[in-house]
């Protein structure tokens, strides 16, 4: 017996140039903030960008975007993502009417397969995926289901975060996954430790985002978020997605 849902997934993603999962073994390091800001900033440059929130038990990107209730995905031979601030946006929040979704591992995998099989992303330059913390099911599922997945890893300057990230990176490298690089978030000083440690792992250090109280105030306000994170994002984008000095 064959599950037809998995046969269609790569077809659904066929017209997307790059699929980047924003991940971290550690929670609370800023994956949702950075994935949302990165997606917004790529869209602002004129790229066609999708943002896919797969943190099913703790979805956050819709709050960071401040996406109004009136903006919804459309039903059309599947589901066409919601369009907001130039982004194609998809999240499980559209199916749970603001309530909690208590899911175990197998349910998380099934929900992911279902959304991947049903969502009509169309033609995109980038699909940015905001992942839940950890190196369990969601990471393994993306590796298993999406052929062209690449990982962008977020850490904070804390060794507590980096040690978890290190293990995750080693796992992903062992699985021969393409790695975009490391973003150091909530940086407060000029320490070079994360940069050096990233290099030791053979990863590109994409850049840092400073700790800034204004980040919290920009939740729900995409324009402000781009203002606050703009300079760091430019650096990250240059290293991560437009390498070799190309402007786009």
């Amino acid at each position: 017996m064959i599950d037809p849902r998995t046969s269609i997934i790569n077809e659904r993603l066929a017209r997307i140039r790059r699929i980047i999962a924003v991940t971290s073994g550690k929670g609370g390091v800023g994956k949702s903030m950075i994935s949302t800001a990165l997606a917004l900033s790529l869209a602002k440059e004129g790229c066609r960008v999708g943002l896919f929130d797969i943190d099913f038990t703790g979805p956050s990107t819709h709050i960071i975007l401040g996406i109004p209730k009136t903006v919804q995905p459309k039903e059309e031979k599947g589901i066409v993502p919601a369009n907001f601030e130039g982004l194609e946006f998809m999240s499980l929040v559209y199916f749970v009417s603001g309530k909690a979704t208590p899911l175990r591992g197998a349910d998380v995998s099934n929900a992911l397969i279902e959304l991947l099989a049903v969502t009509q992303w169309g033609e995109l330059d980038f699909l940015i995926i905001d992942m839940p913390p950890g190196i369990g099911d969601p990471v393994l599922d993306l590796v298993r289901l999406i052929k062209r997945i690449e990982f962008l890893v977020v850490t904070t300057p804390s060794m507590l975060a980096f040690e978890v990230v290190r293990k995750q990176v080693e796992l992903l490298l062992e699985l021969k996954m393409p790695m975009v690089g490391v973003v150091e978030n909530m940086k407060r000083d000029n320490s070079e430790t994360i940069k050096e440690e990233s290099a030791k792992l053979g990863l590109r250090y994409l850049g840092a985002v400073s700790y800034d109280g204004a980040v919290e105030d920009s939740i729900g306000n995409p324009k402000k978020l781009l203002e606050v994170m703009g300079a760091s994002l430019d650096e990250i984008k240059k290293a991560a997605v437009f390498p070799k000095g190309s402007s786009k």
Partner: protein, 134 residues
């Protein structure tokens, strides 16, 4: 899952099998759909017929259902999912992503959302009948 998206997925799988098994013509396709998916067989059949291309074009589609049995992980009560008890938008959300049942459905005995979907979830291509290329 949406009927049209599902039809496309079924046809893609059938196509893969046909290629793999060197089938030049497929006469019958048997599909089993879990009750939790809340698929409307007439819509699914229509979508399949509309989108089918050779060698699946002209195939007869059998759509079978699997009853949905749920089992509470806390008190071990088992029960059957009944979409008629849910309002329209809830039933529709479960239709698109059956896992969100955990948001809306609770154990009838103890009220827990921690239940196992023992059966009636998912879609399977159960069988294909066709002519093999020699």
């Amino acid at each position: 899952m949406h009927e049209w998206a599902l039809a496309e997925a079924i046809l893609a799988s059938a196509q893969q099998i046909a290629t793999h098994e060197h089938l030049t013509e497929i006469s019958e396709v048997t599909i089993r759909v879990g009750e939790l998916q809340q698929i409307e067989p007439p819509i699914l059949r229509f979508a399949l017929k509309q989108m089918a291309t050779p060698p699946i074009k002209g195939a007869k589609f059998h759509i079978l259902k699997a009853k949905s049995n749920l089992k509470c992980r806390v008190c071990a009560t088992t029960w059957q999912y009944n979409s008629k008890k849910l309002d329209k938008s809830t039933a529709e959300a479960i239709h698109f992503v059956p896992e969100v049942a955990h948001t809306y459905v609770k154990c009838p005995k103890c009220g827990s959302p921690d239940f196992e979907i023992v059966s009636g979830r998912g879609v399977w291509l159960e069988g294909l009948k066709g002519v093999q290329y020699k």
